[in-house]
């Protein structure tokens, strides 16, 4: 399976029922094991694209996940292999307890009891939330909710992890914690965001979207060095002073500076 492309999109178009053209001729392929960031301003079509990756929306064009075309027959397998973490954890955590939420996916996969329990334990361990099984989601802090939301997808043991705006609303410590969690996961990652700072540390390739199109794609250093294209699409490099950052983040800042110079 290693040689397969994780995701391959060819000429994908999608128009919302109200006539808004959300995606126009998208071509994108993501290799197995890659970490890709899709950045772009609000309303660029990033979230709409995510909904196509596991067949929640089906536009014109072709979407293949590990060589499987998206159709009614494959959709269960595709949803297992592509784990989507949505922007608002309150949308993702709907069960009475954390355990129930993390067990939801594995139960839908029809796994036996001990396997479900094993996966829930493993997923919560991966995000550092062991011991919260019996807690109710609405008692958790936002950062904790975010981690549990990731665990609800990890328990399905996906090959691709898709995160919609993972840094939104998180404080610096929460972002740092989430970054460490994401770093430790051995999966293909696709991160959709408009916040470049933490994305830089996680992704090797950047794709810029605007007005439903892919306008640029390339290695991190190349895209970040091109301030013209960032500006043109309403994006900017973080302008934070290193002194204002926690120690761990100053390193990121340093890396960014050296990337820009090279």
């Amino acid at each position: 399976m290693q040689h397969h492309k994780a995701i391959e999109i060819k000429n994908l178009c999608y128009t919302y029922p109200d006539g808004t053209e959300a995606l126009r001729n998208i071509d994108l392929s993501i290799e197995n094991g890659e970490s890709v960031a899709i950045i772009g301003p609000n309303g660029a079509g990033k979230s709409t694209l995510i909904l196509h990756l596991n067949g929640l929306l089906r536009g014109k064009g072709e979407v293949r996940v590990f060589d499987l075309p998206i159709n009614d027959e494959n959709v269960r397998e595709i949803r297992r292999r592509v784990g989507v973490v949505f922007q608002d954890p309150d949308d993702q955590l709907f069960s009475p307890t954390v355990f129930d939420d993390v067990a939801f996916g594995p139960l839908n996969m029809g796994l036996p009891r001990d396997e479900v329990e094993r996966r829930v334990g493993k997923a919560l361990e991966a995000v550092g939330m062991v011991g919260f099984e019996k807690r109710a989601a609405f008692h958790l802090s936002f950062g904790q909710k975010k981690r549990v939301a990731i665990a609800t997808v990890l328990s399905m043991e996906p090959d691709v992890l898709v995160l919609d705006e993972p840094w939104g609303n998180l404080d610096p410590r929460g972002r740092r914690g989430l970054l460490n969690v994401l770093h430790s996961l051995p999966v293909t990652r696709l991160i959709v965001t408009h916040d470049l700072f933490y994305t830089m540390e996680l992704c090797d390739r950047v794709v810029i979207m605007d007005e439903g199109r892919i306008v640029a794609s390339g290695p991190l250093g190349q895209i970040l060095a091109d301030e013209g294209i960032l500006e043109e699409h309403g994006l900017e490099l973080p302008q934070t002073e290193p002194r204002a950052l926690p120690t761990a983040d100053r390193k990121v800042w340093g890396n960014l500076r050296s990337l820009k110079k090279s």
Partner: protein
């Protein structure tokens, strides 16, 4: 934000808290049904029910203030019945009481007693059940007692999202009041109407997003849950013992016999 929880105190530890949710549901449901179907004149039977509840209440170590505070919910019903008593005069000749110009009929009083005692038993049972069982386990209990999945699922979503909804309403209210909204005059009702409409749209859209998140994890309309642990023999024995007491109280009380 602070919420007052439906199942406050349900995480305490006591013999009643430790009982299996199914056992408690069956127990309190039976108690309520037996009580409601008891003739109002079987005074001793009601004494028996209240005694059982009192013992459970003490064993549960719930703060009495909380329990009695919540029981006040029956007051409006009692008041409503009380308002009608003077008009129930079926036996005014036989045994009415004359309280300084107001005639209270014996059957009227009996109706009042009937409502007060039965609603108290019902409400106390509900409070004891919900205050000793976390909501999630209560739902699981109903599920394992074969309650239709659609009901438990709706209840679970309502419980889960009521907190999100209250938070959203509070945030809107704060944003509104920060802009010097007074809400005193009839034309201010417009703003409140907009807020309610807005809240409805937000809930509707959230519903769609939650559903997408469920689909993304392989939901296909069938609710699946883990098989729960078996209910323990002591729990079953305990429920049977208490239910026997309740039925005994009913039978003996109806015949006017004392234990």
């Amino acid at each position: 934000m602070r919420h007052s929880y439906l199942d406050r105190y349900s995480n305490l530890d006591s013999p009643v808290h430790r009982l299996d949710a199914r056992a408690k549901i069956v127990l309190f449901f039976t108690l309520t049904v037996v009580c409601v179907t008891t003739p109002a004149t079987a005074y001793y039977a009601f004494g028996g029910y209240l005694l059982v509840l009192l013992v459970l209440l003490l064993a549960s170590r719930l703060p009495l203030k909380h329990v009695f505070g919540r029981s006040l919910i029956v007051v409006p019903f009692v008041l409503m019945v009380a308002a009608f008593i003077p008009f129930l005069k079926t036996d005014v000749i036989g045994g009415g009481y004359n309280l300084g110009g107001i005639t209270v009929s014996r059957s009227g009083l009996l109706v009042l007693w009937n409502v007060v005692v039965k609603s108290s038993v019902g409400v106390l049972s509900t409070i004891l059940l919900s205050s000793t069982t976390p909501f999630g386990r209560l739902l699981k209990g109903f599920e394992r007692l074969k309650a239709p999945h659609i009901f438990t699922t709706i209840a679970a979503f309502m419980y889960r999202y009521s907190f999100v909804l209250v938070d959203e309403a509070m945030r809107m209210k704060q944003a509104r009041d920060s802009r010097n909204f007074k809400g005193k005059w009839i034309w201010d009702a417009r703003a409140i109407g907009h807020m309610i409409g807005n809240l409805f749209m937000r809930s509707y859209e959230r519903g769609e997003r939650v559903y997408l998140a469920m689909l993304a994890r392989g939901y296909d309309g069938r609710a699946r849950t883990l098989e729960g642990e078996k209910i323990s023999a002591p729990d079953i024995l305990f429920v049977i013992a208490v239910m026997t007491l309740v039925v005994l109280a009913r039978v003996l009380g109806s015949r006017g016999m004392l234990l």
